[in-house]
């Protein structure tokens, strides 16, 4: 049962197309499993998300990434699950930060051209979902579908 449980989706830089598609998909899937879902990202990433889901049908709550980190560090909020999306060294670094500051079960969702190398560089506690996907979301979607929530 996941009622009353909270899930966080952390968006990295929105330049790789599959990320937005997978965030909306995963938010929908987690909501169907009764998770209270929050999506965090930079101003640009949140704007893209809101433009794609204007009536908040798939994503009910969004939050600024830096503000969220402050709130987790100050112990004002935490989550049961955290999916950190990453396709660059900066995204991987943010994942490490969530691994250190949050008690959530962490999934590192690694995609993009260098997914394998980036996934191999993750040495902090996280369950890795790695797929070399940039435009076609299906390789990543198939791996996300295998995650037991």
């Amino acid at each position: 049962m996941s009622e009353g449980k909270r899930a966080l989706l952390v968006m990295g830089c929105p330049e790789v197309p599959v990320q937005m598609s997978m965030v909306i998909y995963l938010s929908h899937r987690l909501t169907k499993c009764s998770y209270d879902v929050t999506v965090a990202g930079t101003d640009a990433a949140v704007k893209l998300l809101k433009a794609a889901d204007p009536e908040s049908y798939y994503v009910k709550k969004t939050v600024d990434l830096d503000e969220l980190i402050a709130n987790i560090v100050e112990k004002k909020i935490d989550f049961d699950l955290c999916f950190a999306f990453m396709h660059s060294d900066a995204g991987m670094t943010y994942g490490a930060t969530f691994s250190a500051i949050s008690k959530a079960r962490l999934f590192a969702v690694v995609f993009g051209k260098n997914a394998e190398a980036l996934g191999a560089s993750i040495d902090y506690p996280a369950e890795k979902i790695v797929a070399k996907a940039t435009h076609n979301p299906n390789p990543l979607k198939n791996k996300i579908d295998k995650v037991v929530l």
Partner: protein, 122 residues
Amino acid sequence: MSCVEQLKYRLYLERTSFKDARDYIEKNSEEVYYVDPGYKIFKDYYIIGVPPVAMGVRGKEMLFTYVKPCHGTFVMGIDSPEEISRLRDNEAKKIKKSLKGRDADRAESKQAPASFSEMYRK
């Protein structure tokens, strides 16, 4: 935007990897301290990073990593005797804490075994 960007800062490395930024701080600082991700500096910046996160002191200047999702990692330097003093205090607290832990271990190991059988059990 974090308050860090509104302060008078110097940039030493731009759009690099976190590992290269850490190496730079370690090689170019007079003192190096390690903090956990989420360590707060200035008014509202919580350090983003892969542990161990290095922070350096060079004269009056504090060197630290600044990560932006779309731009990578930067090494920034800001003159701040207050933040440097806080870093040193933080390190002193960590050392004190680890020494306390070691003292407790020693106290435990100082207890002589009551019998030979107990000694062999160890």
